[in-house]
């Protein structure tokens, strides 16, 4: 979970990415005020428009937006698969954009892992060889890298299939290989670009669970791109919503739903079922001495997860703070939950 005391692992300051021949000059002339329309007329496409944010250690930032909104481009800038047109990016405090090729390769070999939408496995290598690939590139000796890769195979539940080729695996299994490969070098930072979009819904759910389980164990710093709001809600500590390259809002899920910063975000979140996002805390009342029920509920719980038990109780419930020895912090009238669930 996010914690403000943690150091920031990824830090972006006014990052721009503009595609086109004279992007750099146009950007300098525009003095930081980039309008997609004028740039388009000049033959440039705005990929990322003035992105500033940071990601704390162990935090999971989910980047959301419609197709073409610049999510992948943002991720690519931070992994330096494309060069940002201007701005500053710091990884663990080191300036990414001034690194030379050698430093960049070192960074990728040790600190970064990435999972791709279409898996991007090497077709001529087996599962095991694919997973061991980053290690071998790094120069780890064969026995060690095979052992490590085997460990990864087990971690993602592919034991018994390590000698298969990617073409012999289902989509979900291939993505497990992709995940295992990205984790093989034990990176601190984990990038995932729509890792589950190419999978069908049932498998996707299963993979999300698997992913949450892994994150529970590994606690990486994560940037996760998706255009599926449900997925974002299930996974995110914070969500960034992008439109035309601009980060419209970057906040916790419930804040995004409750206090959308722009019209666009509002529209975007309109159809999201409130109970899936909101925590008890956001609808609770002050401490009420009349609270007669014995049931205590945590203020950090998502409403949906407790809805059934709340509705079964006719009385006003006590809300407690699990972090402070279950001290009572408020009360909750079931009627309010009904309103969230069925009212608009």
């Amino acid at each position: 979970m996010s914690d403000n005391n943690q150091p920031s692992v990824i830090k972006c300051e006014s990052v721009f990415k503009i595609f086109g021949n004279n992007a750099k000059r146009l950007l300098e002339n525009s003095s930081g005020n980039v309008d997609a329309k004028t740039f388009q007329d000049a033959g440039c496409i705005v990929g990322v428009n003035n992105a500033s944010f940071d990601v704390k250690k162990g935090e999971m930032l989910v980047v959301m937006g419609l197709s073409g909104s610049g999510k992948s481009t943002l991720l690519r800038c931070i992994s330096r698969l494309t060069e940002a047109t201007s701005g500053k990016i710091f990884i663990d405090g080191d300036d990414l954009l001034t690194m030379n090729n050698k430093e960049l390769i070192e960074l990728r070999r040790n600190k970064m892992g990435m999972v791709f939408q279409n898996f991007a496995l090497l077709p001529h290598k087996t599962v095991l060889e694919n997973i061991a690939f980053p290690l071998q590139i790094k120069g780890t000796n064969t026995n060690e890298s095979i052992a490590k890769a085997m460990e990864m195979v087990e971690l993602v539940g592919l034991k018994g299939r390590e000698n298969y080729f990617p073409r012999e695996l289902s989509g979900g299994q291939q993505q497990r290989v992709g995940i295992a490969r990205s984790l093989a070098v034990e990176p601190d930072i984990w990038f995932l670009d729509e890792p589950f979009s190419a999978l069908d819904p049932l498998i996707r759910k299963e993979m999300q669970d698997e992913f949450l389980r892994l994150q529970g164990v590994l606690k990486k710093t994560i940037m996760f791109v998706t255009h599926d709001f449900d997925e974002a809600l299930r996974l995110a500590d914070r969500i960034a919503i992008m439109k035309d390259g601009i980060i419209e809002q970057l906040d916790t899920p419930d804040n995004i739903v409750l206090n959308p910063a722009t019209e666009y975000v509002k529209k975007f979140t309109e159809d999201v079922p409130r109970e899936k996002v909101l925590k008890i805390e956001s609808i609770m009342d002050p401490i009420d001495s009349n609270a007669s029920s014995n049931i205590e509920i945590s203020k950090d719980a998502i409403i949906e997860t407790l809805a059934e038990s709340i509705l079964n109780s006719k009385e006003i419930l006590k809300v407690v703070d699990a972090n402070k020895n279950n001290e009572i912090v408020g009360s909750l009238d079931p009627a309010k939950v009904i309103k969230v669930l069925f009212g608009k």
């Binding site: 990728r108 991007a120 090497l122 590139i137 490969r181």
Partner: protein, 685 residues
């Protein structure tokens, strides 16, 4: 009205043709009129090329070289020294591989000097032909399975039993030397082209010209640089067979999804690792398809390389054709076809073979096939050693069946030919005469009677309508180059033959293709027939037509039509099959007949692809027509052929080759521009 005209291409084309005809009839035939023929301002180009070559080889950049025979220093041109050492190197490789199959002592004596000459010890024994066939069996089995093993071994068994083993191995040794060189060069330039846009844009036009130039036209410059012999043949082959490898390498690498490249980068690959551990293995199949192309081109070219002294099947074929020994020629032709099919199937199987993973295998298990091969070779070698005394006349049939000592069907074939001649001569002759007098000559005269203004108006006008001012200028420029030479009339003859051949081939291809594309099974059948006909060298097509029509223009025409119908058919089938089925259904639902559907839906949608096929058809037809000069036509090809044996022929041969290439490129430009536009319009690009 005017607006309408600006939009309607058919109207523009009608207008164009009207003016063309008007000019055609209004301009009088007058050698001094610029409207009739342009002056040969560029007639000195061949001489200039000769001058360049001469100076390159003898005068420029000389360094003193010690000549042991004369015991003194002599000035020699660097270029010449370089080409000579390349020649020596190639020749050494060819002879080494040749002696591996056929035995001999040149390899060893070339290393040790003359002292060992005549020494029995220095004689390299050949690997017995039975062992080669076993090897092919094992290779075929390993690559694909029993069927391929049988095809490969039986094919070569036939070749050996029919006494063509020696020339076949000579040809094969050329292929085995040139194909790997083409592969390495192609891969190298392909990678460079992939890495740098600049290199690719420089390579592109060179590749275009190299691939559309008739094989013959660079034979002469090669003679100048490299002399005559197997090594010159090898050089010609390398020049001809490398371009497709470069193309397919670039294409294969470009096809790799960007995600794979990025996954490589994120794994921390440096450039080198990215290239050799990610990109090339991922593009493996396309690259190996390139190898297949290389092998086929090498085989095609080694037969033609006979004209500059390469030994092998091509040489024997040439001799047989020159002596009009049709039966013999056909026999050799069959062998060439067999070898082509076997090499094609083997290399395709290699390309399509997926790597198997076997963990922790022992050395023996890993190289089982090779160990078997060595073992069997040993046994067969021993058998061959002891069987030597068993056969009479000093011929050991289990070791090597000498040329012409095998079975032969030549008399049978000759008898067949005689029979055909006797039975059908009358009809064939009538057909032949009719075609020549009433079609070909009429057409030829029509082309020769075309004033140069009208030609240019037609070509550049078509360019303008199709691709705007850019195409107009490109096409005009390419043709102008020819018009300013001495050979415009010859080029017109070439053009008339090409028009005729392409016209008939296109009709053939479209009709046959359309009929066959109608169901799954016939599609498969026709595509494999096309594959089959495309595997063997163009040279081979000439044999049956000479058999039927003798040495006439008709023969060349028919060979060209047969050869050029293949791409026309293939592209028609592919184009029609790629029309989405939903459109068929839509057509069927609205109750149209098959023919209506074909006219109104399928054909227009498939047309862009069919036009690309036509592009190939033009190139194929021109290649065959130039080759046809071998049996006597009077177009550009004849002079190109003639230049082979003429002093100073290099300049002429090369220039005319460029002309033919320019005709191809002009057509290519028009067709490509049209199809690109059309595809965009139909939304199928």
């Amino acid at each position: 009205m005017l607006n309408n005209f600006k939009k309607s291409k058919p109207q523009q084309f009608s207008f164009l043709i009207l003016i063309f005809l008007f000019l055609y009839f209004i301009v009088p035939e007058d050698e001094n009129s610029l409207l009739w023929r342009l002056p040969p301002l560029l007639k000195d180009i061949p001489a200039f090329i000769n001058y360049l070559l001469d100076n390159l080889m003898f005068n420029w950049l000389t360094i003193p070289v010690y000549d042991p025979d004369w015991g003194m220093y002599e000035d020699q041109a660097i270029v010449r020294l370089i080409t000579r050492s390349i020649s020596d190197f190639l020749l050494f490789l060819i002879i080494f591989i040749r002696e591996f199959f056929l035995g001999g002592m040149q390899t060893i004596s070339s290393l040790t000097g003359d002292s060992l000459k005549g020494l029995k010890l220095a004689y390299l024994p050949a690997i017995p032909w039975t062992a080669v066939i076993m090897g092919l069996f094992i290779l075929g089995y390993k690559l694909q399975g029993l069927s391929l093993a049988l095809i490969a071994s039986l094919g070569f068994f036939y070749v050996s039993v029919f006494g063509q083993w020696e020339p076949t191995m000579e040809t094969l040794s050329l292929v085995l030397v040139t194909a790997p060189i083409c592969f390495i060069l192609g891969l190298f330039f392909g990678i460079l082209g992939y890495l740098s846009k600049k290199v690719e844009t420089t390579l592109q036009p060179i590749l275009n010209v190299a691939q559309t130039m008739p094989h013959f036209s660079y034979l002469v410059p090669i003679i100048v640089f490299f002399g005559v012999g197997d090594h010159a043949g090898a050089v010609a082959t390398i020049i001809f067979a490398t371009p497709p490898m470069i193309r397919l390498t670039i294409l294969g690498l470009r096809k790799i999804s960007p995600e794979i490249v990025e996954s490589g980068l994120m794994s921390g690959c440096n450039r080198f690792q990215l290239l050799f551990r990610v990109l090339i293995p991922t593009a493996r199949r396309d690259i190996l398809i390139g190898v297949n192309q290389v092998i086929m081109q090498c085989l095609a070219m080694t037969t033609i390389a006979a004209f500059i002294g390469a030994k092998g099947l091509g040489f024997n074929l040439k001799v047989a054709l020159n002596g009009l020994k049709i039966g013999k020629a056909a026999e050799i032709g069959i062998c060439v076809v067999i070898i082509a099919v076997v090499l094609d199937k083997l290399s395709l199987a290699w390309a399509n073979k997926q790597k198997d993973y076997f963990a922790n295998l022992s050395f023996f298990q890993r190289n089982k096939a090779f160990v078997y091969f060595l073992f069997l070779t040993l046994i067969l070698g021993i058998i061959a050693y002891f069987s030597a005394s068993y056969f009479e006349e000093g011929i050991n049939f289990l070791y090597l069946i000498p040329f012409g000592k095998g079975l032969t069907i030549a008399p049978l074939l000759d008898a067949g030919v005689d029979w055909i001649w006797e039975t059908f001569f009358y009809y064939l002759n009538i057909f032949n005469k009719f075609l020549i007098t009433y079609v070909l000559f009429v057409m030829r005269d029509a082309y020769l009677g075309m004033p140069v203004v009208s030609t240019f108006f037609l070509i550049m006008g078509a360019g303008y309508i199709i691709g705007g001012i850019r195409s107009c200028l490109i096409v005009g420029g390419l043709i102008l180059f020819i018009a300013l030479s001495e050979y415009w009339n010859r080029a017109l003859i070439t053009a008339y033959m090409a028009t005729f051949a392409v016209g008939i081939s296109a009709i053939n291809g479209i009709i046959v293709g359309s009929l066959c594309a109608r169901n799954e099974i016939s599609t498969k059948i026709i595509l494999s027939i096309c594959d089959f006909f495309q595997t063997f060298p163009s040279f081979i097509y000439l044999i049956p037509v000479i058999l039927l029509f003798g040495i006439t223009d008709t023969s060349v025409m028919i060979a060209a039509i047969a050869y050029a119908s293949v791409p026309a058919t293939r592209y028609t089938v592919e184009g029609l099959r790629s029309v989405p089925p939903s459109l068929h259904d839509a057509g069927s639902m609205s109750g149209v007949s098959n023919l209506q559907r074909w006219i109104s839906i399928e054909f227009p949608l498939a047309l862009p692809h069919i036009m690309l096929g036509l592009n190939q058809t033009v190139i194929f037809a021109l290649m065959m027509i130039v080759l046809g000069a071998l049996i006597g036509t009077e177009d550009l090809g004849q002079i190109i052929m003639g230049s082979l044996s003429r002093p100073g022929g290099a300049g002429i041969g090369f220039t005319l080759g460029i002309f033919v290439s320019f005709i191809c490129l002009a057509v290519d430009n028009l067709i490509r521009t049209w199809t690109d536009e059309r595809k965009k319009l139909l939304g199928i690009s």
